[in-house]
Each structure stands twice: as structure tokens, then as C-alpha cells.
């Protein structure tokens, strides 16, 4: 009788995995089936000639190009803002902070990590209102505010991966610098951080992915249906995930719906691409390390 119970174990584990993979496969497969036909120049650039669009000479209508540029701008701005602060905080936690302070800070960052994205968006929106009423009436939800809010969203990822990467460095490596007379900072800057670059980079890639795919935050802080290429960080912008949301709920014709599928595929490809880079980096860098030794 027990044997049957244990046979069930194998049914359970393989069955669960199969179920999960099948469900995920359905999601991705559905998009590919419905959207593949629509992929092409027209999906991205509409009727505008490619070169003119890329040179920013002519605006693109009914195409994903503005949303893609918007997402790109958003990612660069927000990761650019979050990176120095996140990296420095992670270094502080791993190298300088001790005991209760470390524990307290860790708690804060865990809370930040678990924060629902819409609350972060609401935070960004509240900052906008606050600044609008107190300082300049010219401040509205815009690219800058969205990037700032996204930076807050991904900050914990950067902090955590930096901290974990530094804490994982074996003791004998840590002692190399000081044993040669390096100060603490010199040790961090010249030995520890370069050694953990691989993990830190994967943290950065994680942050990039998160910024590219988030919808809730940007919905409250400045993304709009139609705005063209973002010309300034104080203006409105478009973004891929919002486009997908908008089209899914409010497509006006079959063409728009197909574009929505196409946008979803592009977003998935972007995430897969980031994941691929992360994989390759790990493989490549660990090989390098191996060779050096």
C-alpha cells in the first residue's frame, strides 16, 4: 500500500511540472499563434518609412516604435537613477553596517522589496501632487516622475543582489587587499566589487527587466495612450506594457488587437533576451575566473 503512495509521489511531481509548463506554454503559444502573422515592419513603424522614423524625422502612427523608445528611455533613466544609490547601499550593508543597524535597514529594504507596485505608483503620484501644489504648477506626471518611481521600485533588487554578492566573497579573498596595505575603501573598490561583478550585473539585468515590464507604476505617473517619441523628460510618453494593457481592454479594431499581440511578443522577447544575456554573462564570467586561476 505504501508503494502506491510512493508511486503517487512521482505522478505528483511530474504531473505538477507538466501542468505548470503546459499552462505557461499555452500563454506564450497563444500569443505567438495570434500575433506572429502581425510581426513585421508595419507593426513597429506603421506606414512611416523605417529610416525616417529612426532618424526621428517623421512621427510614427499606428506603430509600436514610440512605445518601444518610451520603454527604452524609461529603463535607462530609472536604472541610471537607482544604480548608484542601490549599489552604494548594498556595499554599506555588506561592508560597513553592523548589528542592529544592519538588521533594521534590512527590514526596511525587505518591506520595500515586497511593496506592491501600485503603491509605489501612488507614491510617485502623491509626490507629483505635492510638488505641483507647493512648488511649480508646471510639474505634472511625466517621464521623470515615472522613472523616479520605477527607480524606487527596483532599488531593493539592486541593494539585495549587491549585498548578497559581496557577502558571498570568501574570507581569503577579502584579506588580500588589507594584507597588501589597502584601506577598506580601496579593498572594496579594487578587489571586492570587481570580483562580484557577475552577480551585480545579473541584479542590474533583473532591474532592467522589471522596469521594462511594469505597468502599474507608469499608469499612475505619466504614461499615455498616444504621445510620440518622448522629447523631454518632463513630458508624457508611451510604453510597451501600457500599450498592451490599453489594447487588451480597448481595441477598436482587429488591426489594433493584432498589434497588441505583437507588442506582447516583443515584450516577451525582450525579457527572454535579458535573461539570455544574464545566462551568457554568468557562463562567460565564470569561465574567465576559472581561466585566471
Amino acid at each position: 500500500m505504501m508503494r502506491h503512495a510512493f508511486k503517487l509521489f512521482h505522478v505528483w511531481v511530474w504531473g505538477s511540472t507538466f501542468l505548470l509548463l503546459a499552462a505557461t506554454g499555452t500563454v506564450i503559444g497563444f500569443l505567438l499563434v495570434r500575433g506572429w502573422a502581425g510581426i513585421g515592419q508595419e507593426l513597429v513603424f506603421g506606414e512611416t518609412p523605417v529610416l525616417a522614423a529612426l532618424m526621428l524625422q517623421r512621427p510614427v502612427f499606428d506603430g509600436l516604435f514610440p512605445a518601444m523608445v518610451g520603454t527604452l528611455a524609461l529603463v535607462m533613466l530609472s536604472v541610471g537613477m537607482a544604480l548608484p544609490v542601490g549599489l552604494a547601499t548594498g556595499i554599506y550593508l555588506a561592508e560597513y553596517a553592523t548589528g542592529r543597524l544592519s538588521s533594521l535597514l534590512s527590514l526596511f529594504f525587505d518591506i520595500l522589496a515586497g511593496m506592491p507596485s501600485i503603491v509605489v505608483g501612488l507614491f510617485g503620484f502623491s509626490i507629483t501632487i505635492f510638488l505641483h501644489h507647493r512648488f511649480s504648477g508646471k510639474i505634472y506626471p511625466c517621464l521623470f516622475i515615472s522613472a523616479l518611481s520605477l527607480a524606487v521600485l527596483v532599488l531593493p533588487y539592486l541593494i539585495r543582489t549587491t549585498q548578497a554578492a559581496l557577502e558571498a566573497i570568501p574570507v581569503d579573498l577579502r584579506l588580500i587587499g588589507p594584507s597588501l596595505g589597502a584601506t577598506r575603501f580601496q579593498n572594496i573598490f579594487h578587489v571586492l566589487v570587481p570580483h562580484s561583478l557577475k552577480s551585480i550585473l545579473s541584479g542590474i539585468l533583473l532591474a532592467i527587466g522589471r522596469c521594462a515590464e511594469d505597468t502599474a507604476v507608469i499608469m499612475l505617473t505619466g504614461v499615455v495612450v498616444s504621445a510620440g517619441i518622448p522629447k523631454s523628460i518632463w513630458g508624457n510618453f508611451e510604453a510597451l506594457p501600457f500599450y498592451i494593457y490599453y489594447v487588451s481592454a480597448q481595441y477598436t479594431d482587429a488591426g489594433e488587437l493584432t498589434r497588441g499581440y505583437g507588442a506582447a511578443i516583443i515584450l516577451l522577447l525582450l525579457c527572454a533576451f535579458l535573461f539570455g544575456i544574464s545566462f551568457w554573462l554568468q557562463h562567460r564570467l565564470s569561465q574567465r575566473m576559472f581561466e585566471r586561476v
Binding site: V13, G114, M115, L122, S126, D214
Partner: protein
């Protein structure tokens, strides 16, 4: 300490303080902007009442209920599947297959929620409507199923991690006594990883509570208290997304910050809960 050392240390500390300040700032802003509700004595009415603007009732209890039911349902549905999958990836599958599956699961964590919601509208909603014959297809159950799919990869990775930490020698001991993979897993790994599993569940719960897009696109957004699983319902997160457009000075708008505060408090409680699992008897997760 040299000058640059001093600057470096305080530079890093400043960054850490900024980061911590941001976390607090979120709470402060929510409280600041939701101030009218918090102090006017209408707090209980807001928290415990129903949402009926025509009757001047701006209670968010239906939304709180919706959030809880959805999150619990999603994690409950995901749990057995995630546990099984994690068992396979870390123990039951032969080496290469296990590593491959682990990579696949890692890749799945990158699928954006808006994509799940998008597919849900066109695949799951009609399916639920036809299969169950009740409701419009936009319901708590529909959203819960998709949400379960969303949180699964994260939960699986966390479970895998905690399985991996079970001391290898325990496994070896069991194997030496003649235990099969199944027996090893059920009698040795699982009990040892209990705390880690709990932590994983809590984190999955947190993710499910905080999701906006799936709830917004698939749960129907009705303001009534959900009576049963096939009812359309609204979560706190979807409510924020829907009401953000309301007039600044209206009481409806203020309830948004109350929603934000509630979510903040819930998140904090979950994080503290996870920390507590580290203190429970047994292996550290």
C-alpha cells in the same frame, strides 16, 4: 582614517539612509494625503463600510475582502503544484533535467503580469464562462488561477532553495537505509525544509496581494462584496487604478491613500511574518 576613507564610508551611509528614507517616505506620504480620513473619525466607516458613493459610503471593506480572497485562493491553488515542481527540480529529476528545468523556471519569472492578464482576457475568461456556466467569466476564480500561474515560478525557486539547504548527510543517511527518492523527500527533505516552505508561501502571498494588472483585467471590478468565487470582485490594487482619475478633493480620492496604507501595512506584516519563520524551531529557511 584618511579623508577618502571618511568620504567613502559616509557616502555609502548616506546612500543607505536615502534608501531607508524612501521606504519611510512612502508611508508618510500615504498618511499625509490620507490625513482627512484618518483623523475625521470616519476611519472605521472607511475601513469597514461598503462602497456606495450614492449613499455617501466610501468603505473599502469589499476591496479588502477581494484582495484577501484572491491572494489566498491563488496561493492555495499554486501551492501543491509548486511543491511538486520544486521537488522534481531539486530532488526527483536526474541531474541535467533538473538543471534545465530550474533554468526554465527562472526564465518564467520574467513573464510580465500584463501579458498574463492579456492572455487571460481572451483565453481564460471565455473558458471559465463556458466550463462553469456561471457569471461573465470575469471573476475571483479566473483571476486567482492566472495569479497562481504568476506567483508559481517565484514560489518554486524559493522552495528549491530551501530543499537545497537540507543537509546532504541527512539525505545520504536515508539513502543508506534504503530509502527511495520519494521516501527521502517525504521523510527527510520536506520536514527539514518546513520553515523555508512557510517563508515561500508568505512571499507568494505578498506577491499575490500586491498584483494589480491581473486583478484589474480579470476579476471584474464590481464593488459589491463577493459572495462566491464566481462573483466579480475588486481588489485594493485594482481600486487604486480605477479611482485614481477621481476628483482630488473628493472623499473617494482620499480613500486611495487609505488603500495604499492598508497594502503597506499588509506588506510589512508579511515581511515580519517571514522573519518570524526564521525564529521557529527547526532549520532556518
Amino acid at each position: 582614517m584618511t579623508r577618502s576613507e571618511f568620504l567613502a564610508k559616509h557616502g555609502f551611509m548616506a546612500a543607505a539612509i536615502i534608501s531607508a528614507a524612501v521606504t519611510l517616505a512612502i508611508f508618510i506620504f500615504m498618511a499625509l494625503l490620507g490625513y482627512p480620513i484618518l483623523t475625521s473619525g470616519r476611519l472605521f466607516a472607511a475601513l469597514l463600510g461598503a462602497w456606495q458613493p450614492t449613499l455617501q459610503s466610501y468603505g473599502i471593506l469589499p476591496m479588502i475582502t477581494g484582495t484577501f480572497i484572491l491572494a489566498i485562493l491563488a496561493v492555495a491553488a499554486a501551492f501543491p503544484v509548486c511543491l511538486g515542481c520544486a521537488a522534481l527540480v531539486s530532488d526527483a529529476a536526474p541531474g541535467l533535467v533538473g538543471r534545465f528545468l530550474h533554468a526554465v523556471v527562472r526564465m518564467m519569472t520574467g513573464i510580465p503580469t500584463v501579458v498574463y492578464g492579456f492572455v487571460g482576457i481572451f483565453v481564460l475568461v471565455p473558458l471559465m464562462r463556458e466550463v462553469f456556466g456561471r457569471g461573465s467569466g470575469f471573476s475571483l476564480l479566473t483571476a486567482a488561477l492566472m495569479l497562481a500561474l504568476l506567483v508559481s515560478p517565484t514560489m518554486i525557486l524559493l522552495f528549491c532553495d530551501s530543499f537545497r539547504r537540507v543537509t546532504h548527510s541527512y539525505r545520504q543517511a536515508a539513502a543508506a537505509l534504503g530509502a527511495t527518492t520519494a521516501q527521502q523527500f517525504l521523510y527527510v527533505v520536506l520536514p527539514q525544509a518546513r520553515n523555508g516552505i512557510l517563508a515561500g508561501v508568505l512571499l507568494g502571498l505578498g506577491r499575490a496581494l500586491g498584483d494589480t494588472m491581473i486583478a484589474l483585467m480579470l476579476a471584474g471590478n464590481a464593488v459589491a462584496f463577493p459572495d462566491h468565487l464566481f462573483d466579480s470582485a475588486r481588489t485594493l490594487t485594482a481600486h487604486i487604478a480605477l479611482i485614481i482619475a477621481a476628483d482630488f478633493d473628493s472623499p473617494e480620492f482620499r480613500t486611495l491613500f487609505l488603500c495604499g496604507l492598508t497594502l503597506y501595512v499588509l506588506t510589512t506584516l508579511l515581511v515580519l511574518g517571514v522573519r518570524l519563520t526564521m525564529r521557529l524551531p527547526g532549520r532556518r529557511p
